[in-house]
Symmetry: C2
Subunit: 86 residues, 2 copies
């Protein structure tokens, strides 16, 4: 996927997931640094109705395979540091 193209497409995602991939809503997951093939599968499943969510099924319906690859490249490419749990 092309992360720069994904960044442009991510303007449609930012209300819930942020441009930085940090969730704005209790129902929405963080996407920052998320595993790329996982993101591709979830977006594809939302588009194809295999994973159910009222908002995501509508939003993902518009996405091409290239859009999905690009969005996954963008969000997975955001670097995260994890602090060791206590």
């Amino acid at each position: 996927g092309d992360a720069a193209a994904g960044k442009k497409r991510a303007t449609a995602c930012q209300t819930c997931h942020g441009m930085d991939g940090l969730s704005k809503l209790p129902e929405a997951p963080n996407l920052a640094g998320q595993v790329e093939p996982y993101l591709v599968k979830q977006l594809t499943d939302y588009r194809d109705g295999k994973r159910q969510n009222e908002i995501m099924n509508v939003v993902a319906k518009e996405l091409t395979d290239a859009d999905i690859a690009n969005l996954a490249a963008y969000y997975s490419g955001i670097q995260i540091d994890v602090l060791p749990p206590g």
Copy 2:
């Protein structure tokens, strides 16, 4: 949820998701710092068969509501820092 109890239960999750919430497999998402109510909903949906995944549907079947709350508290409580995307 009780994060300390969740940490003990998370030994069942670590092969795929890590004790630090960083995925070990391309199919498994990171859980570190993930939104707590999102985690509760996904685990509940996996347990109840509303979200489909071969592994998670089996693993989650064993979980009580308290287990789910505790696991969500543990993984959501892991601190993450996000580096601003380019």
